[in-house]
Subunit: 762 residues, 2 copies
């Protein structure tokens, strides 16, 4: 490998730091109309009527659309590939604007006006009459017999209930001398907090609706818009410029379907629909709050005999990604320690909360918190070594998941654990910190995880790529896969250069996706792109190279199979001497008077495999007991993500995930008024996101395996770094104080009550 | 044929009439800086120095660039495909800004400012010191021995001199009893007068220079910009939105290379460079003025024994398309009447006039005026029937040009002549009008032409096309070939629908070209696109259809070769019963869980053929002798352009060409100050373009042949309609008055002197 594995600056670095990079907001026509959405001020009810008289009087108002004016079409919003099988399709449970209001902030009307002020004024002047019902905010109240149905189609408010059993659980727990350990764990609703709010603008051109949007999934958004409006896919065009983060929130259709509809109301004039920070918090998607009840039966030799989990996921008002997340969580429960009998049971439940959707690591941070907390409870109670216990029970090379058939093609998890232990001197410190007293105490903690790469076989994994040879011997690289800040464009460019035998400066990646011309790809999620789309890059580069060498062969009167490309030069295989440059081949191919040929390649990769990546977090903290404060002294994530394509961007991913994991573990949660269901901290002042000042020095380490199924030996890396941080923190707190807190965030309020209960203030 | 041959509205009709269609000006960023060019106020000389002091003081000026600041690179501007053979390459004879000034209006400096006013003010405040030389405006003065060299590399000012001889001319003219007829003919410099002026804007993105431009030839402009700036093709990106006409002026790099350079001076900020109407007239390109001396030796049986031509073409200041036009003219002289010995001799000469470039029909309106005037002189002097004489001598089916090898694959010219004669009752009227007196007289005239289709074998003919199957069974059609108002998008869509078996609503053509993603095509010129690019559409549609049917075959468990598509349905060949819809195939191809495949096709057509189209104009006029006015009473063009793809748009082309031909024959010419070389009528008030009020009812008729080399039996149509109009008018005037005027336009001034000389006022 010449380029894969080196440490390169991002291909978009210069553009982004100089402000040249164009985001949705930079592309809005100066003549665009402005749309604003009226969100419901009740969490559960029915719109009876609107009084629009005062709103219409606001100068500059062009149109007012209410939930009584939109197409009577229920559509799904989840950023999943579509399925032609009805039972695998996402749940279609909302309209462009909703008469049946299901959360505080539901979309009930929209105004299009000449400018922002007029639109906002008109929104404020719309009067709505509701039939109001009691908000149902928790899973418990939603599942209570006789609870009101939030969606008619689900009278019990259960979106989906699923369960599995591996081995015979009831038999397994009959084994004598088992230690039974039980626990309840809870994770909070949190917000993605991407820098760029939900934002799109839409217009009509050539009879088509064009939506420019800050999305992770342009091709999927096209499908959803066409379904929501009841028109052909070919009549919708989605353009995705650079985006200011998504973290899964933009793996959903957010403003796009309504915006697509609004432009049709004004004859195709451009309509801008930019959510405020408050709307982005309250009216887009959240991370699912989950509750887990885990029971483990452990043998005295430190192996699991049996384990069971009951999981409850608070879906909020609309299905969005629905059960996929808690299903992923309970599957992850099985996969991490695939020994003994295992039983999983999961519910996804509608409530009158904001809709939960995809968020980085898709259910796994939730389960990892619960499971790794639970494992530390086991080792503490039974006196096992936490690292040895994990190593003994965790997934091993060659393991095949009996349910999904996903195989462990490679694992470096043991080395990850050893590297983390060595980095932090964990084993020694853990013992040392076990018996402290006084107000300031230290602790170390850790947690591990496994994570799949993409969504096969649950769902379709497909990706296409196109390359064009420019006349100067450089290549255009056109991906359906999306750059969402994670560095995808950089690694795709490296992959293309590697396979083509080009230098990096000869690869021109097109960052902007345009569904009219961009090859199909489902988009950025599930840490799938380097694995699935990376293979599409590899196949397309191979196809392009073959065509280049065939043309070169005719120029050189040599067999193409005997030629290779090295550093932009055509050479004999296994010889370095340049025969002709790719630039010369390209020029001749374009301008030959006898057989011009515009060399391009376009290939689909249909992916029928999956693989696990692994990792661990080791953290050392200082706990100020009187102040109920945790200070992170040192933290390291060690990842096995197969071969690392680009060290620099890989570290960036890990740092970002660790920062997010620290927030998840320590500070972040969304707070709601228990009476109305209104979100109370819907902004970056009141929502306690980690800032640069809050964040300690972050350390990222890698154990490089070479996965045989990855295009370049690589496997998932994008999402995983968030996963092990919260349980490591919780376990460090346990080590420091002996207090096991089984819900996050571990904020001062929670620590206060836990410490008080544990008598630490005495 | 289901769709080819029907009469459909343009696919862009609605967008264009509603104002939704986006042109370059609609896409300029509101934050764009504004550039203005300082044009020389002398026609021949050398810039000695600039005084920029006052210009820099204008508030809002960002940068001033002079001819001393630009790269020392000579580049060509002609919109020809490049040639890897040096001798076939266009002449590189200008820089981005020129120190050696060669015409009144040459580019010597540019200002970039925050707004239009500041840029214009600063331009006015730049003081230039020149070394001034005598302007050389005519071919005669440029070729005079001892004349100053306008370009050092051409000391005799002859850009190119070429000649040919077919048969043995000297021997042929020795045949006894030949009638020798001789004439001198002149055509004027005229302007394209496209509605949208020369206009581009440029910025940098992702390290690339992006130029959005009103051009006919985006891929060629990319190559020229890269040559002008000395950077790789891959580092330049050209975007071509809808354009407001070009007529050949935009088959040249105009503002783009300088604009590409200017944005690099301001860190990639967007820079708009919009020429005014006056600049577009004086500083872009013109149609070559040509002078011809023709000698014919005719047998008494009405056949040519020998013909010779000497042609002189006034190139103006820079080579641009250079000799290609007069070479085309003298080749056309041979091709139209390919009997007897023929001798051609042609000069292209630099002068200090504005640069002449491509314009509709590329030298053929010039030669057709001369030749068809000359033929009417022959028939009048020798007493032949004008139609019979032409039919006897004109190109016949199967004829192969001995020089270019272009073959007459189809001809309907005889029927065209008969149809025109019948329409106007020409033969009868011609006799009737031959002997009139009085101040108001009528006359009929006609002329014929032949016209090639594309540029093979003189130059490269290549075109690529890409199609993508959308998930709803519609297809994206992506062309490198350009819509420039001529209706290309409509006929390409029809071709795609025809070959795919789709209905028209299932074809989504992408009108905007973007060299980063658009398949290669040389662009809109030489009436090549329906013939060359049309074949690329056909090949690509066949390839896409094959892939669709292969996928359908696996779904239906049938052999693909036995399937066909009709009306968006997959059917058994020769059976109408739908088996499955293309929409179902497309959806399954996209979402199959076992073998998803993003169906796309991309094909190059390397064209190695050419074919002739033919036509004629018949016109009846009324001449007011005292007023020296010509009024067109009736006019018809009859064309053999092979199979007509779309009657409606074909008629549109013919009407547009006829209107342009009327202006060329009657009113248009550019006037220059003989001392300074300054253009005097550089605007639409003083330049006498035909307006709607000046234009009579225009009649278009077709004789449909099926050309065996055209993708759908079609051949050139875009340019030809202008060709036969001017000679028909001249011959009608001759019929009406007996006065043969051998230069155009036939405006009152010219008629006055000719009538006076002929004694018509006596």
């Amino acid at each position: 490998m010449q380029i894969i594995g080196t440490s390169l600056n991002r291909v978009d670095a210069k553009e982004k730091v100089t402000g040249q990079a164009k985001y949705t907001g930079d592309l809005v026509s100066p003549h665009a109309l402005v749309a604003k959405v009226l969100h419901s001020t009740i969490a559960n009810g029915m719109v009876k009527s609107f009084d629009l008289e005062e709103a219409w009087k606001v100068p500059g108002v062009i149109d007012i659309v209410t939930c009584f004016d939109v197409p009577d079409i229920d559509f799904p919003t989840a950023g999943h590939p579509w399925s032609t099988e009805k039972k695998h399709q996402d749940i279609a449970d909302r309209k462009l604007l909703n008469t049946r209001v299901r959360f505080y902030g539901d979309d009930v009307a929209a105004v299009i006006a000449e400018n922002e002020i007029a639109a906002s004024q008109a929104i404020r002047k719309i009067k709505v009459t509701y039939d109001e019902y009691m908000p149902i905010l928790s899973v418990e109240s939603a599942m209570k017999p006789g609870a009101m149905a939030i969606h008619e189609e689900r009278p019990d408010n259960v979106v989906v209930h699923s369960n599995y059993e591996v081995g015979n659980f009831e038999e397994a727990i009959e084994e004598p001398d088992l230690i039974k350990i039980e626990g309840d764990y809870q994770t909070p609703i949190v917000s993605h907090c991407h820098i760029e709010n939900a934002f799109s603008f839409a217009y009509m051109e050539a009879g088509k609706i064009v939506v420019v949007s800050s999305t992770q999934i342009p091709h999927i958004v096209r499908r959803i818009c066409s379904q929501a409006l009841g028109i052909g896919y070919g009549d919708i065009r989605i353009i995705k410029p650079y985006i200011g983060g998504g973290f899964g929130n933009k793996q959903d259709a957010l403003t796009e379907p309504l915006n697509a509809f609004l432009t049709t109301r004004v004859g195709g004039r451009p309509v801008k629909l930019e959510y405020t920070r408050e709307e982005t918090f309250a009216c887009t998607r959240t991370r699912h709050a989950m509750q887990f009840h885990i029971v483990s039966y452990v043998r005295k030799d430190g192996t699991f005999a049996a384990r069971s989990i009951d999981a409850y996921s608070n879906q909020g008002a609309y299905a969005s990604h629905a059960h996929a997340l808690v299903a992923n969580a309970v599957n992850g429960f099985r996969m991490m320690y695939p020994v003994g009998a295992i039983k999983g049971n999961a519910y996804t439940v509608y409530t009158n909360m904001p809709t939960a959707g995809a968020m980085r690591a898709y259910g796994i941070p939730q389960i990892a918190f619960a499971l790794e907390a639970h494992v530390d409870d086991i080792v503490n109670k039974a006196g096992f070594d936490p690292l040895e216990f994990r190593k003994k029970n965790m997934m091993q090379l060659g393991w095949v998941d009996p349910i999904t058939t996903i195989t462990c093609h490679s694992t470096g998890l043991s080395e990850c654990i050893e590297k983390g232990d060595a980095y932090l001197n964990y084993t020694k410190k853990r013992k040392k910190y076990a018996k402290q007293s006084g107000p300031i105490r230290k602790g170390v903690g850790m947690g591990i995880f496994c994570y799949k790469t993409g969504v096969y076989p649950i769902s379709l994994e497909t990706s296409a790529c196109r390359m064009l040879l420019n006349q100067d011997g450089s290549a255009q690289l056109q991906m359906g896969a999306t750059e969402i800040g994670q560095g995808a464009d950089t690694v795709f460019s490296m992959m293309a250069a590697e396979t083509l035998g080009f230098t990096m400066d000869k690869i021109h990646i097109l960052s902007k996706q345009d569904t009219d011309v961009t090859p199909y790809d489902t988009g950025a999620y599930a840490s799938r792109q380097t694995y699935v789309s990376g293979m599409a890059v590899k196949k397309t580069a191979e196809s392009l190279k073959k065509k280049i060498l065939e043309f070169a062969g005719t120029m050189l009167d040599k067999d193409a199979w005997d030629l290779e490309i090295q550093d932009n030069q055509v050479v004999h295989k296994n010889q370095d001497k340049p025969l002709i440059s790719v630039a010369q081949v390209a020029e001749e191919a374009c301008y030959s008077l006898t057989h011009s040929n515009h060399i391009a390649a376009e290939e689909t990769h249909h992916c029928s495999d999956n693989t696990y990546s692994f990792g661990t977090c080791f953290v050392e903290i200082e706990v100020d007991i009187p102040m109920c404060q945790i200070k992170v002294l040192d933290i390291v994530n060690v990842h096995d993500s197969g071969r690392i394509i680009n060290k620099q961007t890989a570290e960036g991913q890990v740092h970002g995930g660790m920062s997010m994991g620290l927030g998840y573990g320590l500070t972040e949660f969304l707070k709601f008024d228990p009476k109305t269901g209104r979100m109370l901290n819907d902004n970056l002042l009141d929502y306690k996101l980690m800032t640069a000042l809050d964040t300690p020095e972050l350390h990222a380490e890698f154990v490089e395996t070479v996965d045989p199924t990855g295009p370049y030996g690589n496997k998932s890396l994008g999402e995983p770094p968030i996963i092990p941080v919260a349980p490591a923190l919780r376990n460090a707190l346990l080590n420091a104080t002996g207090v096991a807190i089984d819900s996050i965030p571990l904020n001062p309020e929670k620590l206060f009550f836990a410490f008080e209960k544990a008598g630490l203030f005495n």
